[in-house]
Every structure is written in C-alpha cells, then in structure tokens.
C-alpha cells in the first residue's frame, strides 16, 4: 500500500506501507545505527519518535528477542530504505516483526535524501499517512508533542534486580535493560525506582550508589528530578547516563543546548581527555552540555566526542559524581564503554571505604 512520510515543513517522501496501517505522528529521528534494530525499536529513549534507519537491507541478520531493551516497543513508527524478507538465521522477518509490534512502517523511502534534509533543516515532527494534502501538513504542524515522555516509559512500581554485591538504586527515566545487564555482570544488587521518587524514598532504600538512567525528551521538563539530585548528591555517589547526565548538570547550575547535528549513531568515537584513549560507543542524544557553563562549575570534562568536540562525559571535582552522555551499555554498538560501570563501581567502593573511615574517626 502506498503511504507517505510527511515532514512538518511540508516535504513529502513517498514509500510503501508495512506493519500497522494506522496514521502516526512523532519526532522524526535519523538513526545511523549499523546494527541492533531490535535494541533501537525497543529503546525507551525512542518514545514518541519515528525512527528512520539509514542502513541498507534492514533485517538480514534476523530478529532476536533476547536483545530487547524494554518489554514493549517504544517508537511510533519506522522508516527504511530496503528490507530483506528472509533472515540469515531463519528467524521472523523485519516486516513481520514490526507488524507483530503493531507499529506503522514505511519502506522504499529515499532515506539518504531524508537524512540530508534533516541534517540541513534540523529535527522535526513527521507523520506516516495515506495521503499528502495540505490538510495533513497542517495537522502535523498543529500537533504538540507530549512533554511527559519520561512518565510514559518509567516504571510505575519499584522492582529489584537482586544480587549479592553493591546496592545500586536506579532512577528509571527510560532505563535500558542493558544497564541492568551490566550491573548484573558486576554482581550489583539493584533496585529500580520511578522517576518521580523523592530523595527520602531513595535514601530509605540505603543505596551504596545511585544511577540516573538514560531517557527521552527535554530534561527541563523534569524539575522534580533535578531537586532530588540536589539532595542526594551530597551523600551518595551518582552516575548519570544520557538524560541522567543532563539532569545532574542542570542540578549543578550548568546549562544544556540542543545539538545542531544530533548524535544517533551506534559507533562514534569518544576521547578520554586524561589519557587520550579513543573508544567507539553508542550515542543517542539530541542535547549536550553548554561548554560556557562547564568552566565555572565544579565539573571537569572527562570525555569529548572526537568528531565535533561535544562534551560527552563530566566528573565532579569534589563529590563522587560521574556522568556520560553516550550510552556505555552499548546495545547496540561496541563494548568499549563498559569501563564506565567499572569506574562507577570503584567510585562507590571508595566512597564506602571513606564513609567507614569517617565513622571510625567520629
């Protein structure tokens, strides 16, 4: 069935529909992920987004449900160039999988032209529809994207991911399962809590360290979380990932800005400032830290993006707080960033030791 991807500015990309036949509207995001379609579609970061994949022949490698990053699919639609009807491991085909998730899709779209258009004109809203008249374009323009994206993806109830090691509380702003996997590898006894949990509620769980996870949307829509961070950071080691990083920065008088060329790529180089070591990691963010405010803050820059110099990681000079804007848990992408979890565990353990020493002296 012929369908159209219509952008907010009136540009129309024709293609053929697959998956659900409903009309969908969302923020159009160009994903340059090389692999990991399953991870991308189920990533809570993609809540409210229409994902356009620029890789060719999508779905050749098959669909593996073990790679899910949340129970349900999160994105509102998918746009692809070419797809494969068969898979190498005889698993379900990409199109059938998208159909089973009841997501609308559109294929045979010139995704390269689309990516170039978005690169030149910035991210915008888009819709997958059956027609492309003026009325449709007006509808997209009039649509206001919901500000409560984190609320939609965050867990409603706290739940544990038990183990015998350090007790880590994770504030779920749109948590990816791979973060839990990484913590499990390190024997962490994790408890995942709703994004709106108060500082007292978290303190009552007696955490050794706290992680503010990745998530979708604009961090400025989450003033309560910023307040929670301001209370917690004095007493607990914190790790901020993605959205969590931006919120921690905002809680410490830093400012954020929207990237002219957002990072949605599964393998982009990041340099560790101290050692010069280059790692390839997954990026999925449209915001970054405003460099002007970092200098006057108590943060030092630990990682930068090699390609455009964007700040990708910061660390507090006095408090045990570390943050990365990229996604150290990969999924998809190279595993080069796993060390971030090791460093956080070290940070938590040394904070624990210091706490013990302090108690002894007092």
């Amino acid at each position: 069935m012929k369908r159209y991807l219509i952008l907010e500015d009136g540009t129309v990309f024709p293609g053929e529909g697959f998956g659900s036949s409903i009309i969908t509207t969302g923020q159009l995001v160009i994903s340059n992920n090389r692999t990991g379609i399953e991870q991308s579609v189920t990533d809570p970061d993609t809540e409210g987004q229409i994902l356009a994949f620029t890789i060719p022949s999508v779905g050749n490698s098959g669909i593996n449900r073990d790679f899910y990053e949340s129970i349900n699919s999160q994105c509102k639609g998918v746009v692809i160039g070419s797809s494969s009807l068969s898979t190498v491991d005889d698993s379900v085909s990409f199109e059938n999988w998208i159909s089973s998730l009841k997501i609308p899709g559109i294929k045979n779209v010139d995704v390269r032209a689309l990516a170039k258009h978005i690169d030149e004109h910035g991210e915008m809203k888009a819709s997958i529809m059956d027609t492309h008249d003026e009325h449709a374009i007006d509808q997209i323009k009039a649509l206001v994207l919901p500000p409560d994206l984190v609320k939609r993806v965050s867990t409603r109830q706290s739940y544990p991911n038990p183990n015998m090691g350090l007790k880590i509380v994770i504030v779920d702003l749109g948590l990816k399962y791979s973060i839990l996997r990484q913590l499990s590898y390190r024997d962490c006894n994790s408890i995942i809590v709703n994004y709106n949990s108060t500082a007292d509620e978290i303190i009552n769980l007696h955490p050794d360290g706290i992680i503010f996870s990745n998530g979708p949307g604009d961090p400025k829509d989450l003033p309560n979380v910023i307040k929670t961070i301001q209370t917690l950071q004095k007493n607990y080691p914190l790790l901020g990932i993605g959205l969590g990083n931006l919120l921690i920065a905002l809680a410490n008088d830093c400012q954020i800005e929207k990237l002219a060329h957002p990072h949605h790529e599964s393998s982009l180089a990041v340099k560790e400032v101290a050692s010069g070591k280059i790692d390839f990691v997954n990026h999925n963010h449209s915001y970054t830290l405003d460099q002007k405010y970092i200098g006057s803050s108590d943060f030092i820059v630990t990682n930068v993006c090699v390609a455009d110099g964007t700040i990708e990681g910061i660390r507090h000079e006095f408090l045990p707080i570390m943050c990365v804007l990229f996604e150290p848990e990969a999924a998809p992408g190279p595993a080069d960033g796993y060390y971030v979890f090791d460093e956080f565990i070290d940070l938590v353990e040394s904070a624990k030791k210091q706490e013990g020493v302090r108690r002894q002296w007092n």
Binding site: T35, S57, S61, L85, V88, V306
Partner: protein, 800 residues
C-alpha cells in the same frame, strides 16, 4: 630505533607476478603522504612500470628481484632507518619475517616479526591465538597415530587432513567425515618423516572479514566488514563479496570486532589488520582463520566501499601518528578515529577472462573483479553478478535451461562461478529456497533477493507493468538497474534514477570531500559539477592485472592533464576507478554499470568539450566529439625480424611528434628491449623511420595517437603493424620519454598545434637521464646514458 628518529624508509615493492593483487594506487597514496611528511624513500621493485606515477617520490629505485637477499644487501649498504612492507603484498611479509636478527637497528614498520611470521606458520599462529584466548580452529601436526586419534576424539568429526612431507610439500586437504574414512586415510601410505596435519572442518561456515586500523597508542577503529556470499570452501576472492556484512546482528558483529582488535593487540600490529572469520549461524561458533597485517585486496575494496583513505592512514599510523590527528594531502587534517558508516551496499564480483564454467575451491582462479554500489541486495546483484554486459548471463541462462532437473542439481552441489545463475534457474523451477540454502551454504536473504529479481523479470517479460507493479519493482530493488527508463516512463513515478555520492565518512570528516558517485535511484540528485568545461573519460572494463595497471596509469595521467589544462575531468565507467587520493578531489567519478548516465541527461551537453573513450566501443555515439583512445588495428603484415622498433606518435592531423621509440633485438635466444632509444639512433635510421611515418600518416588528418611496429629487413625498415589509439606500450613510452604523451594528446585535443618547422631532431628529441632495459619482457633495469650506450654498442656489434 624510535619512530621519531626515522628519516629514511625502504619500501618493499610488489613483485611482478600476475597472481598478486594490484596495489599500485595504495603504493602511490603511501609514498605521496610520506613524501609530503618529509621522509626520504627508496624502493626495491621488480618492474619499474608498476611504480606508475609514483616514481617521482623516490630517492632511489632499485630494480631487482624482490627477495630477502636483495633487501638485506640494500639494508647493509644504505642503512635505512626503517622498512615498510605493507605495500608489497604477501611476498614482502615473507621477506621481513626472514630478516629477524639480521638488520641491526633498522626498524620494521607495521607489525612485529612474530606477526609477519605467523601469517606463514600455522603452528605459531595457533599457539599465539590460543594463548590469547582467541577462537582458532584446533590443529595438530604429528606422526604419532595415538596422539592423532586422541586429538580427533577431542574435536569430533568432520575434519580435514593432509600429509606434510619432509621436503615441506604436502598432499591436498581431504575431507573426512567419520572413523571409517579416517582409518582409510591413515592406512593410505606410510612414508617416513611424514607428518599428518589435522584440523576441524569448517566447510560450509559463513566467511567474514573485518579490517581495523590501529595506532601505536592502542586506539583501533573498525573500517569495514565484508561478507562472502559463498560459504567457506570457495576462495574468498572467487566468492561474491558484500560490504557491510549484512547478516551479522549486533552481538555477532561486536564479538568479531572485539576479536579483531584483540588479535591486532596480540601481534602489536600498528597500521592495518584484516582478520578473516568462519562463522556458523546455527551453532554460533566462530573461528579466526587468518589475518593480514598489510594492505590487501580487502583494504582496496573497503576503500572503494567506505571512501576511508586506508593506504594514507596506514602509512601515517606506521610512523607513530595518533589515529585522530592525521593529515591528508596538502596538510589538511583528517580524523581517522571514525568507524565509517555506509548507507549503501558495495559488492565485489569476481571476473574470469573467459565465460565458461569453472569449479571453485580453496585456490583462487578469478582474474579480476567488478565492484558495484547500490541501496539493496537486488540492486547490487543486478548491477554486478547478474549484469549480462559483464558475464553473458543470458547465454548462461539459455544453457542452463537445457538441463534437466538432475543435471541442474549436480551443478548446485558443486560450486562453480555460475552458481547465482544456477540458483536462479533452480528457483524458476520452484526448487525450495531452504533446501538450496542448506546445500549451497548461501544464506537465505541472498536467495530471496534472487527470487525477487526473477519475479520482477517475469513481470517485465509478460508486459504486466502498471503503477502497482512499478511500486512492487521498486520494493524488489529494481532501481536504476537498466529498467530505470521503464520507471521514468510510467505514469505513477515512484522513484527516479539519479546519481548519488559514494560518501561514507560522516560526522567526523565533513571537510573530506568525495566526488565519487554512482547511478541509482532516489529523489534528490547529488551530482555536483563545477562551471568548468568538461572532458568525459569513459573507462574500460578490466580483465587482468596488466589491464588494471594500464588503466590506473592512463586514467591518472589523463585526469591530471585535463585538470592542469583548466578543465574538469569526469571519469565514467562500468565500475569504479581506484583513483589515488590526491586525484579524488580533482575528478568527478561516476560508476555506471548499465551505462545510464547519458540517458539521464544530468551532464549538460554544452559543457562537455570532448569524450575520450577507453572502453573499446562501448560508447555508441557517432558524435565526432568522441575520441577513441583504445587501440584499433590499421595494418598487420606477418613479418618478423631480429631487429625491430615500436614507435609511438602523437599527431595533430598535420605534424607529429615521436616521444619514444622502443628498440627490440633478439640475440642469443634472448629478447632485449630498450625504451626511448631515439637518443641513440643513427641519422639514417631516424630519417628512414620518419619517412615511413609520414607516408603512413598521409591520409589521416585528425588529432590522434598512432603506434607503429617496424622491422629491419635487409638494411631497410618496413612498417609491419600500425594501430590507432593506445596500446599496452603506453606506460613504457610515457615512463621512458621526457615528453608527456598523454598530456600532449590532451593539449592537441584542445586545439593546440605542433610547430610546422619541426626538424627531425626535434621530432625525436628526448632528454631522459635513465633508460629502461628489459630482457625477455621480464627483467628490467634502469641504466644511465653511458651504460645504455655501452649496451647498445654491444648488441649492434653482434648484429654486424
């Protein structure tokens, strides 16, 4: 020796074997950047013509057999600070591994001795990988029966086995599937000093190769992945290749990436490393089968596919540069810390000189390859392996149609170079895809793509094309693949054929402009042309290594000359030209396997001054603006003599120049050839030859290149052969002469004239310092004027 102390580098050049891959562009890029960075370089090379245009960068060119002894001799005499073996193919690695402990302080760049040795010695390779916990196929080499049986019990069947004799030769590998076959193999012969080598069989596994670059600070970047369409059992370069590897999901890809980086670390490879894997998608087993710590066919292919300047980057990394702080030509910065993202598929299809069927196995049989780009599997298959213009697929189809099902099944079981055609025919007869996949080891997505192509051609054949079908065709990948006109003519235009940039290196390298395009489909046309007048060059299809060398050389000279004369060179070919990095900014290159660019009308006709056609009559344009550059025979008399010359002549239609004369003499059962002998010719010979040329050219009044062969018989010269256009002598003429033949031709094509009052002396004038002597078409020497005079006198004495 520290990297900072390196100032002089000896480059081990390629051998002149036809079996080797042509790395001339990689060599050019390597020495170009090292020259710009201020290093002094020497090269040992067998055939100086293989240096093409890179000759200017060398301090010293030693023309010798590329052997360990000659390299050692050079090192002992000139004490270079370092040796660079990465551009010398496999031979150079063998030489370097034999020099361990003999070259004192001279540093070997690229990797350590153990790495180079491990590319040859299987035991060392397996030992090192096993120690590093990298997955490698278990292997035993033993003459103890007990040990062998115990080893097989631990790995299970199937296995492959061979006998290694004491003279280092071996029997071929034998497939062994059970104990019975093993007992038979063991009982076969019992020669003393024979070792039996046994490996777990990985026949039928999928093959992948990963190429990474690594700097000395342990930063690595995955440049690209390649997937073989055919499974292991068929030589990698006889197999159809696809990049990127589409059948690897994220976890498989990352696992193999990690292995590649770890392997490079184990052998301390600084530069480039291509690692080959065998992967079983059912059992999820993976093994490293080999690694290549040098520039290779894979790096060449990936440079096409990703536009990442691998050769240049590798040269800098070898000398200690940081991965993210590299530079390209003219000092422009380049961030090598990029894992190129490609939004298109690039495929390499092997080519054979003749079209007949060949059984494929572990040894390479193909002669060259075709590379194509597209946005779907169907598109690249249509453009490459199923492109009738390259492979005569229609004839194959007719031949296969005659077979009955049993005969066809026979062809499915034994892999041949026709396998994709055979599978297409099998699917036309409704053979089941999963069964075909099981037997051939070719993965299902490829079979589905073939099925789509078959369905699509049925629609076209039945003439059932309507708006709906056009959409279906687009879905099936029929985009810009010969049917584009059909799509353009249909009422409901879903897509249109356009030209797209082969850009790949994205975010990190916005300033790295790539003027390499390919014809495909889409909405926006990306072809960007300057206001300059243009000369279009149509490139030939290549079928051998010599063809590649000539094409590389001629295109480089043509493009350079067109650019220097103030015009824009547009190189259009059925497959990509591997342009040296320095030229990539200056030329617009379009890969057009179905020759659609003309019908698309994307290049303004008025802006094109001339078309130079090297494609041997592929341009069907009767237009006078087309200049045929490929050789066309005008005269052929069957007469042989002991002394002959070959003369190249550039004519403006009235006067001519003869930049180079090759002198050929048969003496003592050897064939001697001297290039640019014009400087040594007697006045009489010169006048005779000039007279003959004038006579032959009397009736031709166009700008052209002519090649003459003349034989001296009874003290008189006779013209035996005459060609219009370029022959394979072009490189030798151009290298031997101080007149740039190709540049002169371009100038004449632009309307310049040769002086009317040229004397014979001037017509043949040449002022070279070095002359090329070839013995039996193989052994080349560069001699200065005195040495050459001496040689010639010697030959002429024998003649008298």
């Amino acid at each position: 020796m520290e990297l900072d102390d390196i100032h002089t580098i000896l480059i081990i050049g390629p051998t002149s074997s036809d079996k080797n891959v042509d790395l001339s562009t990689a060599l050019y890029d390597t020495v170009d950047i090292l020259h710009q960075l201020g290093y002094k370089m020497s090269i040992i090379v067998e055939d100086p013509t293989s240096l093409l245009s890179s000759g200017v960068f060398y301090d010293k060119s030693v023309v010798e057999k590329v052997t360990g002894d000659n390299v050692l001799k050079y090192v002992q005499q000139f004490h270079p600070d370092a040796i660079l073996p990465t551009v010398g193919d496999r031979n150079a690695l063998g030489i370097v591994s034999s020099l361990n402990g003999k070259i004192g302080g001279t540093k070997v760049l690229g990797a350590n001795f153990a790495a180079y040795l491990a590319t040859f010695k299987r035991e060392l390779f397996i030992k090192r990988l096993t120690k590093a916990n990298l997955p490698v196929i278990k292997f035993i080499s033993s003459n103890d029966e007990k040990e062998i049986y115990s080893f097989i019990r631990s790995i299970g069947f199937p296995i492959i086995a061979r006998r290694r004799y004491s003279n280092r030769h071996s029997s071929g590998w034998t497939n062994i599937n059970n104990l019975f076959e093993l007992d038979n193999f063991m009982a076969l012969e019992d020669i003393e000093d024979t070792k039996i080598e046994i490996e777990r069989s990985i026949r039928g596994f999928s093959e992948y190769s990963f190429t990474i670059v690594r700097d000395q600070y342990d930063n690595s970047s995955l440049i690209g992945t390649i997937e073989d369409v055919e499974p292991i059992g068929v030589h990698h370069l006889d197999s159809n290749l696809v990049s990127p590897a589409l059948s690897l999901n994220d976890s498989k890809l990352q696992r193999l990436r990690n292995y590649s980086i770890k392997l490079a670390r184990v052998f301390n490879v600084v530069g480039v490393c291509t690692v080959h894997f065998a992967y079983n998608h059912v059992t999820k087993e993976s093994y490293i089968t080999e690694f290549i710590p040098r520039l290779s066919e894979e790096t060449k292919f990936l440079e096409y596919a990703t536009s990442y300047p691998i050769a240049t980057v590798v040269a800098e990394l070898c000398l200690g540069y940081h991965l993210d702080k590299l530079q390209l030509d003219a000092g422009s910065p380049f961030n090598g810390a990029t894992e190129p993202f490609v939004d298109h598929i690039t495929s390499r299809f092997p080519q054979w000189k003749t079209p007949e069927q060949r059984y494929l196995g572990p040894s390479k049989t193909s002669d060259s390859s075709i590379i194509v780009n597209g946005f779907s599997l169907e598109e690249v298959l249509n453009k490459g392996a199923l492109n009738d213009k390259f492979n005569g697929n229609f004839e194959r189809y007719n031949e296969l149609r005659k077979l009955d099902d049993d005969e066809l099944f026979e062809k499915i079981i034994h892999p041949t170079n026709w396998i994709l055609d055979v599978l297409s025919e099998a699917m036309r007869r409704n053979f089941e895809k999963p069964v075909l996949s099981e037997i051939t080891g070719i993965k299902l997505p490829y079979l589905s793509a073939l099925q789509n192509i078959i369905d699509n051609s049925l629609i076209i054949r039945e003439g059932e094309i309507d708006g709906k079908n056009v959409e279906r065709m687009v879905e099936m990948g029929v985009k810009g693949v010969g049917h584009s006109k059909l799509l353009l003519d249909s009422k409901d235009i879903v897509t249109k054929t356009v030209v797209k940039n082969k850009r790949a290196i994205s975010v990190g390298n916005n300033k790295y402009i790539n003027h390499n395009y390919f014809v495909t489909s889409g909405i926006s046309n990306e072809l960007e042309l300057s206001d300059r007048k243009k000369i279009i060059v149509r490139t030939p299809i290549i079928t051998s290594k010599t063809d590649i060398m000539i094409r590389q050389f001629v295109l480089f000279q043509l493009a350079k000359s067109i650019d220097q004369n103030g015009l824009e060179p547009i190189i259009i070919g059925r497959e990509p030209w591997n342009a040296p990095l320095v030229m990539r900014r200056k030329v617009v290159e379009i890969d057009d396997p179905h020759m659609e660019i003309k019908s698309l009308g994307l290049i303004d006709k008025d802006s094109v001054l001339r078309t130079i056609d090297l494609s041997k009559n592929i341009v069907d344009d009767e237009n006078e603006q087309v200049f045929q550059f490929s050789a066309q025979e005008l005269k052929n008399i069957d007469l042989e003599g002991n002394t002959s010359v070959r003369v190249m002549v550039v004519s403006d239609g009235k006067n001519y120049l003869a930049p180079s004369v090759i002198y050929q003499a048969k003496r003592d059962n050897h064939l001697y050839e001297v290039s640019s002998v014009n400087n040594f010719m007697t006045v009489e010979d010169r006048a005779d030859i000039a007279h003959l040329i004038s006579q032959e050219l009397e009736n031709y009044d166009h700008v052209d290149i002519y090649n003459f062969e003349m034989v001296k018989s009874h003290d008189h010269w006779l013209v035996t052969k005459m060609y219009r256009g370029m022959t394979s002598d072009i490189i030798r003429h151009e290298l031997a002469s101080s007149v740039h033949v190709i540049d002169t031709l371009v100038k004449l094509l632009l309307g310049n004239k040769i002086d009317d009052d040229l004397s014979l002396e001037k017509i043949f004038a040449n002022f070279d310092e070095q002359y090329l002597l070839a013995i039996d078409c193989k052994r080349y020497k560069l001699l200065d004027k005195d040495e050459m005079q001496e040689k010639l006198t010697e030959y002429r004495k024998k003649e008298d």
